[in-house]
Symmetry: none
Subunit: 194 residues, 4 copies
């Protein structure tokens, strides 16, 4: 990658970060291109130099975070740990991202309403892929005799649902630290899976 390309890539990342920020502040639907640009002291026109349109900018934003999350959780699955340990770490990772990326994470929620057909399929697929890692952890745990669940998929949905929800109510001012929350959530889930 040439210097130019690296610079451009960096700029794209900056824009994505700015977009994430604005989305977090104003919510997805009130995040205008103007806002996103202003955050970087650019004009909105410049954004179109890097992204075809708003949808693609937002799509990239979403993709960036989901890809990172996937990488991390996949790595955890590959570690040499008990299934309970894996789940504990995976939940913590997921919570960590869900809290940190609050709003952007939310784009995953209703992609059908935000994205057009071009992108929607890839999004759904990636989302399923991500959820699939949790399924594999659970399945492995059941096989190893660590977990005992009546329905694996439903268990995963409860886990991801509850953790996704965290970003709805979580705020720095809350009485619980992020670490504390992560511990308690993991504990409850393991109890549920046991």
């Amino acid at each position: 990658m040439s210097l130019r390309e690296r610079k451009a890539a960096k700029k794209k990342e900056d824009i994505l970060r700015s977009a994430s920020l604005v989305i977090s502040r104003n919510g997805y639907h009130n995040a205008t291109m103007e806002d996103i640009a202003a955050e970087l002291l650019m004009t909105k026109g410049a954004l179109y130099y890097y992204f075809k349109n708003k949808e693609e900018l937002l799509y990239s934003c979403h993709d960036l975070i989901l890809s990172a999350a996937m990488e991390q959780v996949e790595a955890i699955f590959s570690e040499d740990l008990s299934s309970m340990e894996k789940m504990k770490k995976a939940v913590k990772t997921h919570l960590d991202i869900a809290i940190r990326e609050k709003e952007v994470f939310n784009l995953i929620v209703k992609p059908e309403q935000l994205f057009s057909e071009e992108n929607i399929e890839e999004i759904i697929q990636k989302r399923d892929q991500y959820a699939g890692i949790f399924d594999r952890i659970i399945a492995e745990g059941v096989k190893r005799g660590e977990f005992n669940v009546s329905d694996k998929k439903m268990a995963r949905m409860i886990i991801l649902g509850a953790t996704n929800w965290v970003q709805v109510w979580y705020s720095q001012e809350g009485k619980f630290s992020k670490e504390k929350i992560e511990d308690i959530y993991a504990e409850y889930f393991l109890k549920m899976l046991a």
Copy 2:
């Protein structure tokens, strides 16, 4: 209440129902005043006779559903049942509404972004009040020795979070019936609380 007032109240309810429908169909941000009015064969101008503005219409919409939910869950709490039974019924009720009212239910999720200061406080308060009933069920269960949890509030958050999340992925075509989902969810939660 005079006849005129009763007529107006009825019309308001009609509008709210229409709004719920449109929101469920198009998603919150794509529900225009025009759409809502069209559903009732009115013109959008008429809506302003009954509601000050869009926010208030949406607020009422949200309030209607939350109030109904509260009433039902409160009733369950007052019944003469074991805490486990109460929780099971409450979860089922909550799931039932979350699935049926999909989108409108979502207004609860990010009220800060949708409503202005005037309404926001009341919404948060009502939401907390609703969550409080679940807190009371858990507290009662702990006192009675039915439940055994390390942190009550967190347990409630997991339960409501997971159930709220249902509407994100649930769709009639899914392989699980609503009843089946309700049973499994209740089972997992009770295991978690035990």
Copy 3:
């Protein structure tokens, strides 16, 4: 048609007239919705109450004129006249409209570049239909022995091409009156067809 409807229809016509005017003044591509609205002391937003979008407004504009032209020329064809008389009158009518509606008439020229697939077919069809009347006049003249042409279609193309071109150079200030132009054109064409 109710009073309301008639009022709306009248307004639509006003807009069309205004659009024609602005197009004539600024040229097709520089005629903005703002300009068209300003001409009527409206705001551009109001135009969207009457027309779905700019294309449809322009399409209606074009359709109005072409339809009127068609009606007139069709009537001439039905008259009890010699083919030469018919052609003379048809050419005059065509020239009359081409001169009066200068710019709007030009929309017919390159519809492929201005209109989307939805409208394009209908436009082409109508245009062909209009040209068809001239074809019929020529064919009739040939059958009656009044005209003597090697290729009917090509003759029509020359006639319509030359008359369409009039609006390119014609301007009130020119040394020829409209009537004079019409006479000379007709004379030349008849000589060509003889």
Copy 4:
């Protein structure tokens, strides 16, 4: 002319050719600087090294073609031929260019709308000069007794109008070959002038 200047002149020609191509493909108003540059694997910024702005580029484009046409038709006029032969050849040449340069040729149509005062005068003048050659052919033919027309200018306008119009409907797929069209047009015109 220095080497440098010659190089620049060559590049200018390349750009003009590219511009013609893009205009022909997309139509005048949809030909962006970006498109024109891309055709030459340049960036649009570079175009501004050779041309002051878009208008001047387009002006040059137009000028190039008109100049070439003028040269050819002027040469025909100077040949030792009957007026009828001259007109036949001139018409064929004109048709040839009109068909080949379709869109660019169209710039001539409404120069008032495309060019600013700076260029407009020169364009009109050149256009009149070009038309003048046809006038001279006709005048010569009249003097020689080959042609018999009531109004020379009008005759020329019909001829150029009809031929200009060709590019509106002509397309390779048509049932007539370019040669056939040229023959028929010439035949009709000569009949008209006779």
